[in-house]
Amino acid sequence: MIQFDQVRKRYPGGHEALNSVSFELETGAFAFLTGHSGAGKSTLLKLVMLMERPTHGQVLINGRNLSRLHKSQIPHYRRNIGVVFQNHHLLFDRSVYDNVALPLLVSGYPARDIGRRVRAALDKVGLLDKERQNPVELSGGEQQRVGIARAVVHTPRILLADEPTGNLDPALSEEIMNLFRDFNDIGVTVLIATHDIALISRMGHHVLTLQNGEMLSSDSASSASLVQPEIVQSEIVTSGMAEQATTAKPDFPHG
């Protein structure tokens, strides 16, 4: 489903975010993407989202070469992907319902389906009773769950998450991860960028490890220990998508 072939990404400033990264995730896979800050996790996700284009190499999604995709096709391509951001990227000028409905509106779903799907998604994340509230009134965990509902409301084939549990306590993280696993159970390919080693080892899934832009390992859960703990501990979450998010609103208090 997701295939990287010798992908290199060099940013205009000269920073080399990814170097010769190759891996493949089968349809229906559940994988963690890990590595230290600046290792290239977010860049990798951005390449899948077509927020960035690779300098070299190819990214194939569902057998489709993204480099052949014209700019005008990008919106349609993105509708096959759900993304969960660490800072949610929720819009605070509208209700929870309207936030979750956004991908459906954008894709032109009939109004009838929108209501049904939004409520199904909210029900799934346990927020059906909060649909009329403004996301600003919700706790951090709830906001993250709204973000997840929005990411899955259009039943994408791929679900990407960038540090989805970055600001949550372990119990909430577990809850969020279980949600991801539920979606994986119905055939959605899930790729989660995280540095939460404890969580990764608990869940026991495929792990992709990046270090300085190179793929260290593409292993199953048993080798999660390959991730060097000292790197992880010194991590400050400021890379990639988190940086990009600073152009927008600051995070709201959580919990």
Binding site: P75, R94, L102, G115
Partner: protein
């Protein structure tokens, strides 16, 4: 974005139930049983685009009231810019109408020989009355001309000293058909050729002058309109640019979940449309009120000159032109701004 429900996010539960799925009953397309699946999907896309247009239009309108002061000021600036050329146009049209009245009454004054007998005059009158180029004839006998002259010239006493009436009998000829300087001049020449006629006078020079002044006035109005239309474009462009900036986060999210540029642009274009159209409406009100107010004194002034001159009141046509023109400028200005700025906001 274009969801009308977004207008009331601060009232959780207030519209529960009805607002949840507001257009469920309206979408009539789609039936999974239709055989032409492709056509169905095309219909679906079309219906969805249509719905988004409707929602964008409604939402754009509602948004005018989110920041009423800013909206009113923008609309007012547009209104003033549109009202200036519109007012000049109304002025030109008013004077032109007056000129047109005079134009239509561009009469030929035919002086008959002083010794013409009543029967000669009678024959002449009946001949000319049958002339297809003459619409109307008015006969002013010499005696009545003298009375008139006495009454209006202020030389009454002096005239009394004269032994005989110095004035000739006069026939006022109203040419038939549209006032056309050349044709009227030809007619005057023909009438003058008649042996019973002493002279035929036609003074159209001042009419020509008035007409060229009016043409100049109209050109100034158009030039002013062109320059101010550019101003309106810039005003709306700038307003929309600010709106785009303030909704940056929303645009990013919409693009991330697969919104096309057209989807992102739409609400802003409608925003521009509403700004422009409301500006046009306001400018019409300004001109109408201005005309009404000015007419009070213009009519008084005109009465002193025994004239019927009054400013034309802008009517439904002017309203349509101003509202549509304003709306068009609004969309165009928004388009110019949004095209650049929306493309620049990429996740």
């Amino acid at each position: 974005m274009g969801n009308a429900k977004g207008a009331s996010p601060k009232r959780p539960g207030a519209t529960r139930g009805t607002a949840r799925n507001p257009k469920a009953g309206e979408t009539t397309e789609r039936s999974t049983k239709t055989p032409g699946a492709e056509r169905n999907s095309k219909n679906r896309r079309f219906a969805a685009a249509l719905r988004h247009h409707r929602e964008s239009a409604a939402h754009g309108f509602v948004r005018l009231f989110v920041e009423p002061l800013q909206s009113v000021m923008t609309a007012l600036v547009i209104a003033i810019a549109l009202a200036l050329p519109a007012a000049l146009y109304v002025l030109v049209a008013s004077v032109q109408q007056m000129g047109g009245d005079l134009d239509a009454s561009a009469r030929i004054t035919v002086f008959l020989h002083r010794d013409a007998t009543a029967s000669t005059i009678e024959t002449l009158r009946s001949t000319w009355a049958a002339d297809s180029e003459i619409a109307e004839l008015e006969y002013i006998p010499a005696a009545i001309a003298l009375e008139d002259f006495k009454a209006h010239s202020g030389f009454g006493d002096v005239l009394d000293l004269l032994d005989e009436n110095p004035l000739p009998p006069v026939l006022l000829v109203n040419p038939a058909g549209k006032p056309d300087a050349e044709r009227i001049a030809a007619l005057a020449a023909r009438l003058e050729g008649d042996p019973r006629v002493d002279a035929a006078q036609l003074d159209m020079l001042w009419l020509k002058r008035l007409n060229s002044i009016l043409t100049t006035g109209r050109q100034v109005a158009f030039a002013l309109a062109a320059v101010l239309a550019l101003g309106v474009l810039l005003i709306i462009g700038n307003t929309i640019r600010l709106a785009v900036e303030s909704r940056r986060e929303e645009i990013l999210v919409v693009k991330l979940v697969g919104g096309t540029d057209a989807f992102v642009r739409r609400p802003f274009l409608y925003n521009g449309l509403w700004y422009g159209a409301s500006g046009g409406l306001l400018s019409w009100v300004m001109v109408a009120v201005g005309c009404w107010w000015l007419n009070i004194s213009v009519e008084r002034l005109a009465a002193l000159y025994q004239s019927q001159l009054a400013l034309l009141n802008p009517g439904i046509v002017e309203l349509a032109v101003l509202v549509c023109g304003g709306g068009l400028l609004g969309v165009l200005g928004a388009w110019l701004a949004v095209g650049r700025h929306v493309a620049a906001i990429e996740p």
